[in-house]
Every structure is written in structure tokens, then in C-alpha cells.
Symmetry: C2
DNA sequence: AGTCGATTTTGACATACATCAAAAAAATGG
DNA sequence: CCATTTTTTTGATGTATGTCAAAATCGACT
């Protein structure tokens, strides 16, 4: 019924009372391809679970878009800065396909942490899992060649290649589209 | 008296009972320059607070050391993988100066999370803060040139340059020592 | 099927950074 | 204070990737 809650349960137990309250504050949105969920500079943000569709985060640097991550079905995500600090997001979040999300606002989330301290275990597990993912990405960017990063990507996000254009992939990898094209020719 | 606890308190409240139990499980160690706290492949690990000294994490790739992070006074750190998953560390943790640390084992930490669920708020805040730091590093590696990364480093870790040799810095930045030397000449 | 716009590939050339070897400078220890 | 080791710099050259321009391919729409 509420896929966000199902996802949260994977991290830890949720009492019926907490579940009810999380449910009450969850909103379901239908988004079209190219719609934005968040724009650079916003502080107000949400934690959301992508039920269907595809989403990317990116920012502009030297007049070019830089993709920071992709969100696929069943992932729970959000923009780290507004979610974990009071600071505005430096990234835009935009849908690359028609999508369905279940989201909860940071404000509601923080209230819930206060009302139901048990949620902190789930929040901790989520953040810890994210640390592991971020560390992997650091290692990849730190030590791998463009070609190695490309192969890491297609193994960790199988299917992504069929859904987004190569410009998006190249930007995520930190290389130009031309270089990616040459890598793929091999 | 227990600097690790002082540090934890910065993230959230700690009941006297929890404090006592954390205290009981905290160990203070004196380490010499070049000593190791953790070696690649170990699962058993600790969360620790560096009271005095300097520490680095690194792994070996293609016969070369790659520095992943530095720990300075008052930082609370550990190796992400063994700390947040059941997986062995891929990195070594080694002291670069004679150091004093206060540490708690993952096993104890996880027990404490069970006994005192209130600790999950602190654990959540710690992991969330780490996410923000990791994201900054990703952005730096993703979009900045070697020279820009060098300048980012000296502003975010002032004083580090005076304490470690340039080989360590270059490795952290993902460039060779020769390139770093040339960047610095400008 | 044909046209228009978006995406991908290709080519020529530029640049940042790596590699290897050696010299210079600085730190360490007797 | 000298000798040895470690760290840093310098030079010559190689390689991966970037830039810019153009061609080729793909895809959506009428």
C-alpha cells in the first residue's frame, strides 16, 4: 500500500503507531519526463522512494551539466545536503522518464524522528548504507580510468544504458561524450 | 575524562546509564608512528576518536599506496566497510605520528545500539555527517582539476601540509608526486 | 516513407597528467 | 658536522582524455 514504508521496513522494525504516522505524511506524486522534483538552491526537500521511473541529480559547472547520480525503481533517495543539513541543495533533481514517487518532507521526517525515536535506527541504517555507496564511488573516481569506471557503472546499474543517452552517462563518469563513444567502440 | 563520549555528545544526548556503559567499553591506546590500527582484510574494527596525533587510511592498488583519508585531532572515524557492514576492510589504517586514541569495537558498539536505542540518534547523525563529507569529496574528484583539488585540500585541512610528506598528499589527490610538485611551483 | 531534430560517432589537434630517470634539497643519525 | 637516507624537484617524453567541427545515425512526427 505504501511502498516507502515497505522500503523503510527493510532497515528495521516499525511500530504500528509509527507506521500510521509515516503513512499519514507520505505523499504520492506522478511526475512527467523532464519535470523537476528539486532545484538548485532549495532547502526544502524530501526523502523519496521511486516506485516507477527514472530520475537523475545534476548541477551546473562551467555552463555544463554534471550528473551526480541516477535513481532507479525501488531506490530510496534524496539530496544529501538539504536532507542532512539545513543547507540548500547544490543539485537539481529531474525525472528522465514518467515516474511515480512516494515522498516525505524533511520537516515531517525530522518531526517523526522526534515523536518516534525508534525511527532513528532506520535512519541510521539508511545513512550508513549510503556511506558505503558513496565510498565506492569515491574509490572509483579516485583510482579508476575512464574505461574502468564505465565498466563499473554498467555492472552496478545494469539496464541504465538502455534508458538514458550517452551524454548523461559520460557526465556521470566525469568524461566527455566523445571519449565515452571511443571507449565503447573497443 | 572520556573524549570519545564528549565527541558523541556533540551529536545528541546521552543518558547517564548509556554514558557509563559506553565508558566501560571504551579503550585508550597509545600508538607509535607507523603502527597500524587495522589491516586490509580485517572485519574486526573500531570506531575511534583521535585525541592526539595523525592517522591515514590507504590501500594498495597496482603496487602503489592510495591514501583514502587522513584523521586529525578530535576527529571521530573508522573504516566504513567493517563499521557499517559485516565486510572486511579494504584499507589499512596507519598512524603517521605518535598518537592517542579512544576506541570502541564494532561488536560493543552494536551491542550498545541494542541496549540503548537512544544511541541510534547519535549514530544516525554521525553517519549523516559522514555522507556530507563523502559527497564533497566525490564532487571534488568528479569535477575538479588536480590543481583545484589541491587547493580544496589545503583549505579543508589546514596544517596537514606541514605534517605529512607530499607523496601522501599526492596519493590522496589521485595524482603523482611529480605533478603535485609542479602544481606547487606555481 | 520523408523530414527535422537529437544523439552518436569520427577526425584533427590540444592539454593535463603520467612515467622514468636523475639531480637537488632536506631530514636523520652517528 | 659529515654521511646517509628520504623527500622534493626537474627534465624529457608518452598517453589518456579534452576540444572543436563535421559527418553519420537514430528517432519522432506528419
Amino acid at each position: 500500500m505504501n511502498p516507502l514504508i515497505d522500503r523503510l521496513r527493510q532497515y528495521g522494525d516499525l511500530s504500528p503507531e509509527a507506521e500510521q504516522e509515516v503513512n499519514k505524511r507520505t505523499r504520492c506524486f506522478q511526475k512527467r519526463k523532464d519535470d523537476f522534483l528539486l532545484r538548485q538552491g532549495q532547502v526544502m526537500s524530501t526523502l523519496f522512494m521511486l516506485d516507477k521511473g527514472l530520475v537523475r541529480a545534476y548541477f551546473i559547472r562551467k555552463d555544463k551539466e554534471v550528473n551526480t547520480w541516477f535513481g532507479l525503481e525501488n531506490m530510496i533517495t534524496g539530496s544529501i545536503l538539504p536532507l542532512y543539513t539545513e543547507k540548500p541543495s547544490f543539485e537539481n533533481i529531474q525525472f528522465l522518464e514518467d515516474s511515480t514517487i512516494y515522498s516525505i518532507s524533511v520537516t515531517d521526517l525530522n518531526e517523526l524522528y522526534k515523536i518516534f525515536p525508534e525511527l532513528n535506527l532506520i535512519g541510521r541504517k539508511m545513512a550508513e548504507e549510503l556511506c558505503v555507496i558513496l565510498e565506492e564511488r569515491i574509490t572509483s573516481l579516485h583510482t579508476e580510468s575512464a574505461e574502468e569506471r564505465y565498466h563499473s557503472l554498467i555492472t552496478s546499474f545494469p539496464g541504465l544504458l538502455q534508458r538514458v543517452n550517452l551524454g548523461h552517462i559520460a557526465s556521470y563518469l566525469g568524461i566527455t561524450q566523445e571519449t565515452l563513444s571511443r571507449i565503447r567502440k573497443r
